[in-house]
Symmetry: C2
Subunit: 222 residues, 2 copies
C-alpha cells in the first residue's frame, strides 16, 4: 500500500521550492532521496527552519489541517519526491487503520522533535543549540544509513544552520569551530565526523526520538 503511494516520482534539483507558504497545498510528498527543509519567513526578514526532511519523511502534512500551507518546503540537494493528494490519504485512513495509526504516531514523534528544538532554542546556549542540531541530524541519518555511520556530508550552509537554531551565520561559525577545537566533532568542508557522541549529546541535552512504540496500534484489517 505504501509502495502505491510512491508510484509517482518527481525529481527536483537543489533550491527548488516544493511547497510555498501561504499558497494552496493539497498534495503531500514522501521523500525518497535527498534533503529538504521546511521553513517560514517572518515579517522582519528573518527565517526559521522548522525541520530538515530526510528520505522516508512525509512532507506537507499540514495540508491535512489547512488549505493553504503555513510553511515553505525547499530542496537542499537534488531530490526525488513522491507526490500524492490528500484524498489518497483519506482513503488510507478508511481502509488501513493500522497503517494510518502508524503515520499518526510518526507525526506525533515529529512533533516531539519539534518540541525538543523549541526547548533547545528557548533555553540553551548557542553552543548547545548547534550541538543539538548535530545530534538530531546524526541520529536521523543513523536510521537511514545504518547505525555505524558517524561521518556525514551535511548539505547546510552555516546560514541555514543559523536559521534552524535561531542564530546568525557568524555565531554558528564560531560555535562549530568551538566544538571542533574541543575535539567533539571534526569537519572538513561540509563533512562532519562525530568524535565524542556522549559529550555532544550531553551538552545538547539530547534525547533520541526516532524509536517509536507500536504496541498500542490497532490490528491490520485483513
Amino acid at each position: 500500500m505504501l509502495d502505491r503511494l510512491e508510484a509517482q516520482q518527481r525529481h527536483c534539483r537543489r533550491d527548488a521550492v516544493v511547497i510555498s507558504e501561504g499558497e494552496p497545498a493539497r498534495e503531500l510528498y514522501i521523500v525518497q532521496k535527498g534533503w529538504l527543509q521546511s521553513s517560514v519567513l517572518l515579517g522582519n526578514g528573518g527565517r526559521q527552519i522548522m525541520r530538515i526532511n530526510l528520505p522516508g519523511d512525509i512532507v506537507g502534512l499540514s495540508a491535512l489541517a489547512f488549505d493553504d500551507s503555513p510553511e515553505t518546503v525547499t530542496t537542499l540537494t537534488d531530490a526525488t519526491i513522491c507526490p500524492f493528494d490528500r484524498e489518497r490519504l483519506a482513503l488510507l485512513f478508511s481502509e488501513h487503520p493500522r497503517l494510518m495509526a502508524l503515520v499518526f504516531a510518526l507525526n506525533v514523534a515529529e512533533r516531539s522533535q519539534l518540541a525538543d528544538r523549541l526547548a533547545s532554542i528557548g533555553r540553551t546556549s548557542a553552543r548547545a543549540r548547534v550541538a543539538s542540531l548535530m545530534c538530531e541530524i546524526f541520529s536521523r541519518l543513523r536510521l537511514v544509513n545504518g547505525p555505524t555511520s558517524d561521518v556525514a556530508h551535511i548539505p547546510l550552509t552555516q546560514e541555514e544552520i543559523g536559521d534552524a537554531t535561531g542564530l546568525t551565520a557568524v555565531h554558528v561559525n564560531r560555535m562549530i569551530r568551538n566544538l571542533v577545537e574541543d575535539g567533539i566533532i571534526d569537519r572538513s568542508g561540509n563533512s562532519f565526523r562525530l568524535l565524542d557522541r556522549k559529550r555532544l549529546e550531553g551538552e545538547a541535552n539530547f534525547t533520541d526520538r526516532s524509536k517509536i512504540g507500536t504496541s498500542w496500534l490497532p490490528p491490520a484489517r485483513n
Copy 2:
C-alpha cells in the same frame, strides 16, 4: 462516540502533575475544564513550556509514539480531565476513520502552532514573543468563550510566561508593562484586556491556526 471518551472524569487541583516526563504514560486526556501546561525540564535547570492546554484539547498524544512521556503535564488551575487509554483510541481508529482523521488534523494544527512559537522564539524580539503568546491565548480563548471576549483572566505567573517564551520573569515583566504603556493591552492583576488587536497581531507576526479545513476528510462509516 466522543462523549463516550469523556465518560470518566477526574478532578485535579492547581499544580497537580498529570503526566510526568520520562515515566510510562499509556493514557490520554481530554481537557474539560481548567488550564494545563505541557513542559520539559532541561539539564541546566531551565524549563520550556511547550503548550498551554485549554478545554477541548487532547493531552498526552505523545503516548501514541512513546511508551514513556517526553513531557510533563501540569494543571495551572483546578481542572477536570477525562482519561482514556490509548487502546480506546486504537478502536476509534478502526471504527471511525472520519473522526480519527479529524483528530489527526487537530494534531497537525497543533504542530503548526508549535512551529509558530518556534519561529517566534528563534527569530523575534522579547516584546514580540510576549505579544505572540498573548495572541495565541486570546485567539484560542475565542474558540472556547465566543468571538467577542477580548478580556481574559490568564492564570500564568510571569515566570511561566517566561518559560513559554524563552525569557526571564524579569524581562517578561518589562515587556508586559511596555505593551501596556503603549496602549496595546491593559492589565490589572492577571486580567488582561485586548485594546489594539491589529497592532498586537502585527508586532507578533501572528497567524490564526484555529480554523482547520475538513473538506478532504474521509466520509463517516455509517
